[in-house]
């Protein structure tokens, strides 16, 4: 019994020494210090203002063959809309072609010359919307806005006599569809991912480059102890940083945090732990810091693409959906969003935390196993 106790004490003392050393090294290296403090905060501020998927400032070409009161009235509706910025009047289809081809406008409207007559005669008529299909996303959004405006105008000139169904849209959890809420919360997660990966992936690779890893291996530290010593400092630092970023976005950018803060912290710990595992795994198979950076890239891009940030997971092919099950970012991102905006229930958070812990367990075990194997 006594022996086990002294053994544990020695283990603990070795790990503490390693943890202390890691902190000193991370802090002393000006590069990693910049990476820890400067980089994420600057990026958070820049992306808060730069990234948006909203489509505003649409420039539009109009070929008005009718040139009547009605057609001008319709066009003025576009002018009034905040989405559309500039309206360019053209005289023939060729001009439309040129404007769209040169990306001077994103969308064009073509009004037939029987537009007003048809309306007066209560005959159906058509307006052609031409969008730049090369920019798939903004094309569909811009044409949706355009057809919405046209629909409203159509209701206005020909009020439906019979029963009509009107839809009222209400956006839950983000009533004004404030795009910044969405982006800021995502940025916190993505930046946490980048920092944690870099911190961990570089740590062992750097020791290998400097030959200090051999020193560690030859010391009484077991590979498990090295792993723990290498896990705690980056976990602690990235947790602190993620918390600070969360505070910044809630206080300075008014992003609501309606869910439990304790659950959020628990989520952060488990998500960051799983990312530390991935980082250490990358680090354990790399010989140099350069390789480690490449490894981080190789993991990071698919992880972001398959996280549900770029496109909904449900829309992905079956095989990609299956892969997302092993992507820590998937759980990290959706659960953060859930806790931020809608007070996600404890059991729902837990069903997302469990896979994260599972991923952490697997990656950390592989990393520790690879240390031993790669000694050769």
């Amino acid at each position: 019994m006594r022996e086990i106790f002294t053994g544990l004490k020695q283990k603990l003392s070795r790990v503490i020494s390693l943890v202390k050393k890691e902190f000193i090294i991370i802090w002393k290296d000006p590069k990693s210090r910049g990476m820890i403090v400067g980089l994420p905060l600057i990026q958070l501020l820049i992306f808060a203002n730069a990234i948006t998927m909203e489509v505003t400032n649409i420039d539009m070409a109009v070929l008005d063959r009718a040139n009547t009161t009605e057609s001008r009235e319709l066009i003025s509706k576009f002018d009034d809309s905040t989405r559309f910025r500039k309206i360019i009047y053209v005289n023939n289809e060729n001009d439309i072609k040129n404007l769209i081809a040169n990306q001077k406008v994103q969308i064009a409207l073509e009004i037939q010359n029987d537009f007003s007559n048809s309306i007066k005669a209560k005959r159906p008529t058509y307006i052609q919307i031409i969008a730049d299909g090369r920019q798939t996303n903004s094309a569909s959004i811009a044409s949706a806005y355009a057809s919405q405006i046209i629909g409203e105008y159509s209701n206005f000139v020909v009020p439906q006599k019979s029963v009509s169904i009107n839809s009222v849209i209400r956006n839950w959890y983000n009533p004004n569809l404030n795009y910044r809420w969405f982006i800021m919360q995502t940025m916190v997660v993505l930046l946490a991912l980048v920092i944690t990966l870099l911190l961990t992936a570089l740590s062992i690779a750097r020791e290998k480059e400097n030959g200090t890893f051999d020193q560690l291996v030859v010391s009484p530290l077991s590979s498990g102890e090295i792993l723990i010593g290498k896990t705690i400092p980056p976990l602690f630092i990235s947790l602190a940083l993620t918390t600070i970023m969360t505070i910044i976005v809630t206080i300075f950018f008014d992003v609501p945090l309606v869910g439990s803060k304790l659950l959020l912290l628990l989520l952060f710990v488990s998500a960051l732990l799983s990312i530390v595992g991935v980082g250490l795994f990358i680090s354990s198979i790399c010989k140099t810091q350069q390789q480690a950076i490449l490894g981080v890239m190789t993991f990071q891009i698919p992880a972001v693409l398959l996280s549900g940030f770029v496109s909904p997971i449900e829309d992905m092919p079956k095989i990609a959906q299956f892969i997302t099950l092993f992507n820590p970012l998937r759980y990290f991102l959706s659960t953060t969003r859930g806790i931020f905006f809608k007070d996600m229930a404890v059991q729902d958070v837990m069903t997302n935390i469990l896979p994260l812990l599972f991923i952490a367990m697997i990656t950390l075990s592989i990393a520790s196993w690879t240390f031993k194997r790669k000694l050769d």
Binding site: I16, S17, L18, I24, I25, T212, D214, S219, L221
Partner: protein, 496 residues
């Protein structure tokens, strides 16, 4: 007639003085040796001579040209072989030669150079698959293309086995004309006898220039004189060993290698390596680079998993119970491998913690170490900024911090000057008298004399094992180098 004339040359890198007001002439048509430890200024001087570096002060004239202003004219007349010669490992010998011939714009007639270097048989082998000695020969062959007037060779013989070393110098002597000047740098003092003239560098200064015979006709006398010129060395009692306490043990053979084998694919890096080291013995693994001594060493300390066989420290299998086995082990790596961003004190503190010195005793132990190793003035300096000698002392301090009973040293003296080496061995000797068991690898043949027993490595195999005297007697040789060469010749005569 001088090939190179240098007047009052100075070169600094930041705060470090690499070349300290040197004036020298290198005679045309001679082989001049540039002898010195790492960081003594050899490479810097060579690079200044061929215009790869710009001097801070002073004048250089290379073949009566200014190496900076007339760089192209200078480059056309010289052959330069840097320390790690840039050979393409994925090209064959012939393809490498073709490439360098094209770069130099000379004919592709390699017959002579291939015969000289004995590479004719291997011309279709990939350069990466050549042995260390053959790689150096190929590098030399590429440098010799176009018959340059001035050959600048930066440590061509470092880490090469003694036979290849002899062949390299012979090769250079045979392939040059009367008018060719050779500047050959080396860290080995015993190479001085190969040169017409020796220049000995120490800390950026020339401490001797002239024929080596003037200093002493035997290697030993020469060495003694050089030490005198460097400021002298007095043997004194080792402070490190004085209060060293090790755990008592009943184990007779403290370190055991039992039939160690390391295989990479079909290639045996180490074959059937067996030895037993008694308590307090200094055991040397001796051999050229690539002979398998490093791999054996790594298997002994658990850095590499043997394909077969077991390594035991104080009777504990390093594979089965690594933590226990290693707590008795002090390890010093070949190159400086402590944390450069940590100060001396932080490094010591870290290793004290990792090697399980109890917190309450740690402070006392650190104070002791700092006193014994004279770190008082250095303790708050980042260790990457330390001078080479102090770095080495720090590595040793970290290895000894927990008073291990076993010490593993991987080429501990490579790059260290002769006085530093003497001092180092004084400590090691004193420690072994206290009962510390030492396993050491080295490629300095003369250092074998410090060992109680040695194991000679060649091509992954132990070719001989015994005390230095036994080995010397067995082949009637005077020096360790001669012994090695004779033993190898007996074992099928050098390289295939």
């Amino acid at each position: 007639m001088n090939a190179v004339e240098i007047k009052n040359l100075t070169k600094n890198f930041g705060n470090i003085i690499a070349i300290d007001n040197i004036s020298l002439n290198i005679k045309k048509g001679q082989i001049t040796g540039l002898i010195g430890a790492d960081a003594s200024g050899k490479t810097t001087l060579m690079r200044l001579i061929i215009g790869l570096l710009l001097s801070d002060k002073g004048e250089i004239s290379t073949l009566e040209l200014n190496p900076r202003a007339q760089k192209e004219a200078v480059t056309a007349c010289i052959g330069y072989m840097p320390q790690k010669f840039g050979m393409y490992e994925d090209l064959t010998v012939k393809e490498n030669l073709d490439l360098y011939a094209d770069l130099k714009g000379v004919s592709h007639d390699f017959e002579k150079v291939l015969t000289f270097t004995n590479l004719t048989k291997f011309q279709n082998r990939l350069a990466g698959k050549l042995s260390g000695g053959m790689k150096q020969k190929l590098g030399l062959a590429c440098t010799l293309l176009g018959s340059p007037e001035l050959l600048i060779l930066d440590e061509p013989s470092v880490g090469v086995d003694p036979i290849s070393r002899r062949e390299l110098i012979k090769l250079v002597k045979d392939s040059i004309t009367e008018n060719t000047t050779v500047l050959w740098s080396t860290a080995y003092l015993d190479e001085a006898q190969n040169f017409d003239e020796a220049i000995i560098l120490d800390k950026g200064k020339i401490i001797y220039q002239g024929p080596h015979q003037k200093l002493g006709d035997t290697n030993q006398k020469f060495e003694e004189k050089v030490i005198e010129l460097m400021g002298g060395y007095k043997e004194k009692e080792s402070e490190i060993a004085k209060d060293y306490n090790i755990k008592n043990t009943d184990v007779e053979f403290v370190v055991e290698a039992d039939d160690l084998v390391k295989k990479y694919g079909e290639f045996y890096a180490v074959k059937n390596n067996t030895f037993k080291i008694r308590r307090g013995e200094i055991f040397g693994l001796l051999g050229p680079n690539g002979a398998g001594k490093s791999t054996s060493f790594k298997m002994m300390c658990g850095l590499s998993t043997p394909t077969n066989g077991t390594a035991r420290i104080m009777g504990v299998d390093i594979k089965k119970n690594p933590t226990k086995a290693r707590s008795n082990l002090g390890y010093m790596a070949q190159k400086f491998s402590l944390y450069g961003d940590l100060t001396v004190l932080e490094n010591l503190r870290f290793f004290a913690g990792v090697y399980g010195i109890p917190i309450l005793k740690r402070k006392k132990r650190l104070d002791e170490i700092i006193k014994i190793f004279n770190f008082e003035e250095y303790q708050d300096i980042m260790s990457k900024e330390l001078p080479l000698g102090i770095k080495q002392r720090l590595s040793m301090a970290c290895a000894l911090i927990h008073e291990p009973a076993v010490l593993f040293l991987d080429e501990p003296t490579s790059g260290v000057d002769i006085i530093g080496r003497k001092e180092f061995w004084t400590h090691i000797n004193a420690l072994s008298k206290k009962g510390v068991t030492v396993l050491v690898t080295t490629h300095f043949m003369d250092e074998a004399e410090y060992c109680d027993r040695i194991s000679l490595f060649y091509n992954g195999e132990t070719v001989a094992i015994g005390t230095p005297d036994e080995l010397k007697k067995s082949v009637n040789a005077n020096s360790m180098e001669e012994t090695f060469i004779k033993i190898l010749e007996k074992n099928q005569g050098g390289e295939e």
